[in-house]
């Protein structure tokens, strides 16, 4: 399904051709199924002592969480299909915030102790 955002007669002359392509209903159901399966996988990892004891536990959970985060942002928030300015408005602060988080973890010794 494709639609153009309606243009007003009084819109500025420099009005960019804002075109968004939103996925079909079936894609939304498939995304929900994938998100559910990933969540089940995360909880399953939590209950398997061998996985919890392994070095892959925390990176694995973080990777699955990041995957879920990206899927929701790309498909449900339509950032994959939307204007690049929206992508910049979201990923810019997110990167700054993530960098601050990592810096704080080093500062307070949570990461430096592991490296």
């Amino acid at each position: 399904m494709e639609h153009d955002t309606p243009h007003s007669d009084v819109a500025p002359a420099a009005h960019a051709h804002e075109e968004t392509h939103h996925p079909d209903w079936s894609v939304y159901w498939k995304v929900a199924l994938i998100l559910t399966l990933i969540t089940i996988g995360e909880v399953w990892m939590y209950y398997v002592p061998a996985i919890v004891a392994s070095r892959a536990f925390v990176p694995g959970l973080l990777a699955l969480s990041a995957l879920k985060f990206a899927i929701v942002v790309m498909f449900y928030m339509h950032l994959k299909y939307d204007h690049k300015l929206f992508r910049a408005l979201f990923t810019g602060p997110l990167l700054i915030a993530a960098s601050t988080l990592i810096a704080l973890m080093f500062l307070f010794g949570h990461l430096s102790a592991k490296l």
């Binding site: 819109a11 209903w25 939304y28 928030m77 408005l89 979201f90 601050t100």
Partner: protein, 218 residues
């Protein structure tokens, strides 16, 4: 003087309301990362229990505290919030395509009903809040309050802020529902539903991060 603008376009050609919600979401990212950072910095530094993943015996009273986080309950609430995101995106699709899709069968009529999906989203959000109220109440009964230790302070602040955002989202959804009942939401209202949906999905992605960082990582 020209007629009032029907759309609030910026010099980029994008609607200013949508630019504003994305800028707001960007700022909210920073707020929640600061709260998550605080939780992670204090993680494992509480001097007294109860603790999130470990049992603890109070040396003064001899009282035994078990690990306080209830993963099955939180998994159920996480699933509820994930499904609410699906319902929200279906509500948006129903508004966008109102009148343009066939509604011959019962299922097609349900799929095209914005009221149904908005109600489903609001109910799922309220259920999530119910889970959170249950969790907070059980924690307080088990001896963990916001003043007990560093874990309690940072945990209740982080999840409480998230819960407040979910509450605001539910009120927003109920407002959209009242508009839908009053005059009906259609393709011309796509943007106001899209903005509410973006906020709702953001609340969902924040919980995705909280669920892993607070509940699952020991």
């Amino acid at each position: 003087m020209s007629a009032p603008a029907a759309h609030h376009y910026t010099s980029t050609g994008l609607d200013s309301r949508k630019v504003a919600i994305w800028a707001f979401i960007g700022s909210e990212c920073m707020l929640f990362v600061s709260l998550i950072s605080t939780y992670l910095i204090y993680k494992g530094r509480s001097r007294v229990g109860p603790f999130p993943h470990e049992t603890w015996v109070d040396p003064t009273s001899g009282h035994h505290f078990h690990a306080i986080l209830n993963i099955p309950v939180t998994s159920a609430s996480t699933f509820t919030l994930l499904m609410s995101s699906l319902f929200m995106v279906l509500a948006l699709a129903a508004v966008q395509h109102k009148g343009s899709y066939p509604t011959r069968t019962w299922w097609q009529r349900r799929l095209a009903s914005s009221k149904l999906w908005l109600w489903a989203t609001a109910i799922a959000g309220t259920t999530f809040l119910g889970f959170q109220a249950f969790e907070f109440t059980s924690f307080v009964h088990e001896g963990l309050s916001i003043r007990t230790n560093l874990f309690g302070s940072s945990f209740f602040t982080l999840t409480g802020f998230h819960g407040a955002h979910v509450t605001a989202g539910v009120i927003w959804l109920l407002t959209l529902l009242s508009i839908d009942y009053k005059r009906g939401l259609g393709p011309k209202d796509e943007l106001i539903v899209d903005i509410a949906a973006l906020y709702w999905h953001f609340v969902d992605v924040v919980w995705i991060a909280i669920f892993t960082l607070v509940y699952l990582i020991k």
